[in-house]
Symmetry: C3
């Protein structure tokens, strides 16, 4: 069904982007690349991811899907070193994955895709406020907020022309105010504000810290969409995190 060759770091980067939310997922192959779509066990955060055939040294695949244990696969890939090329293919039965990392050959069982949690539908959302900023800035705000509380406000204040990240604890408060000229982009017709669990943002932060440009789409009491490219632009990761809506 497929035979791939790719720099190990690119494959790891893609799989880790899913692994921060789920232990198992399906990889959907087409002749153009593979995609992942998964939602965390508590239904708070969703990841969609594509890795295009251009990200690979060699890529041959027909339509199909496999079920993978992401932690185990990443554990095996951890044997690869910087600049190692990894080769993946299905065995003839279609139930086992053959992995070659240099001289090392692994055979690992795949999961039956029917036992893997059903892929989520991607909701249609209007998230009109858009912010683009370096991943490291966002991660720093998440870590600062984590010292204070459990939830982070993401806000666009149109008067201030600023993107504001804010957390409140029992005794402490923290705020990061990024004015338009400190951001790569701030596009917003109106104010926007939504509240998110820092726990999920910390998980996602593990993967987006390296991204030079992270795009955030925001509205009022709506999910946030956080997107960035991987594999030198030949892939994209998109997270959608449900807001915590405060009841009256």
């Amino acid at each position: 069904m497929f035979s791939l060759e790719i720099e190990s770091d690119k494959l790891k980067e893609a799989l880790e982007a899913a692994e921060v939310l789920v232990d198992e997922c399906k990889l959907n192959f087409t002749p153009e690349g593979f995609t992942i779509r998964a939602v965390d066990p508590a239904n708070v955060a969703m990841v969609t991811l594509e890795l295009q055939r251009e990200a690979f040294i060699n890529y041959e695949a027909s339509e199909g899907e496999i079920g993978v244990d992401l932690k185990k696969l990443l554990d095996l890939l951890a044997m690869s070193r910087k600049d190692d090329v990894v080769n993946l293919q299905l065995d003839e039965t279609g139930h086992k994955l053959l992995i070659h990392i240099g001289d090392l050959s692994y055979t690992t069982s795949l999961l039956d895709p029917s036992t893997v949690r059903k892929e989520p539908k991607i909701p249609k959302l209007e998230l009109p406020s858009q912010i683009i900023l370096p991943g490291s800035v966002l991660v720093r705000a998440i870590k600062a907020a984590d010292k204070v509380g459990s939830y982070l406000w993401m806000k666009v204040d149109n008067n201030l022309a600023a993107f504001i990240l804010e957390a409140e604890g029992d005794t402490d408060h923290v705020q990061l105010t990024l004015s338009k000229d400190e951001l790569i982009t701030l596009q917003s017709e109106t104010d926007a504000r939504s509240l998110f669990s820092i726990e999920y943002l910390l998980d996602i932060g593990k993967t987006l810290g390296k991204a030079n440009e992270v795009r955030i789409n925001l509205a009022n009491d709506h999910p946030v969409k956080i997107q960035f490219t991987i594999a030198d632009g030949c892939g994209e990761v998109s997270y959608l995190i449900a807001p915590r809506v405060e009841s009256d």
Copy 2:
């Protein structure tokens, strides 16, 4: 009551010097700088510390005191990076501390100074033997002693013109003999020897390892005073550790 601007590393260095002994303390402000005076819960070790106005980029303060949770404050300051400048001021109520680290703004509650353990009186002591040595040498001796036992002798042997650090365990013994020419200074009219808990010395060792010159004042079965400067000479830390006096 105050508004300060200082390189984050200098502030952290000062607060850590107190935090190795106590979780909470008072900061006493005067127009000339701030001081800390605190004793550990077991009344074995005391720290006194001053940071002069010259250590700050901007310093404005009237007489007054605040109560701080040192661990929490250092945890927030951990968000600062090398060369970051941190700005501290009281809010209008005087009960909250405003901390700015670059774009990050924290508000954190202060402790009611009346709930913080009373500051110790500084005892008047005659400690006539004085040794000055690099902090790293003292820390090395403390670590070597810790492998062997729980108590460390600090001795001046006037015949040998040497400063001797010595620990005895059940089966092992370790000794570091530093002759006058291996020390920066050794001034002593008589012999001196006192025994100290290695546990406290290890705690203090966390802060004095970087000091180029650590001054030790010693007598017989008396406390030891261990002093060094911080903030490029614009501050000073002084520890006083009670001896373990062996009963007959």
Copy 3:
């Protein structure tokens, strides 16, 4: 009985090679150097080691043996820094070891050699297949195998002219095939294959990773001998690991 002076790193390297298998051992001194021979508590792996007088800066010893607690001795030697020279001698009673590391002097009790587990006999073995490879390659194969199962096959396939390392888990399989030109040496008249516990190989891997050349001697369902030099060629370590023989 002896007085030695040696670069601390060389002494640590030798003692660590034994310490991966046993906590205590005897050091047997002769005028030509010292040797260690010890077997792990489960009788699966044996280490024999010699450090020749040429490995030392100064070496004076008569025939004799001492019992040492390897963990404690290595813990004390951990106080030495790169390029430190360490000096070891027996005290006059012969029951205590004096260790000098720069200014530091330790005295540590020795074990009564009669309380240390008896030294194993070295079995006579015919292990006709010989492989020489860099230690790092062997360690990499051991780590890769550890991700998959508990036992590692070491095989020589004469048809392929290859040395094969192979592990099988419940669902996964890993194989490293090293052809003759990837090895430093492969000498074998026949095929050979034996199965070994990865746990022991991981322990031994801590010491052999740095060796440029590791010599492996192998047969069918026989122990494996793994040898390498230490101390710039002035010492040698040899491990013998019992095979797991599969019953029918």
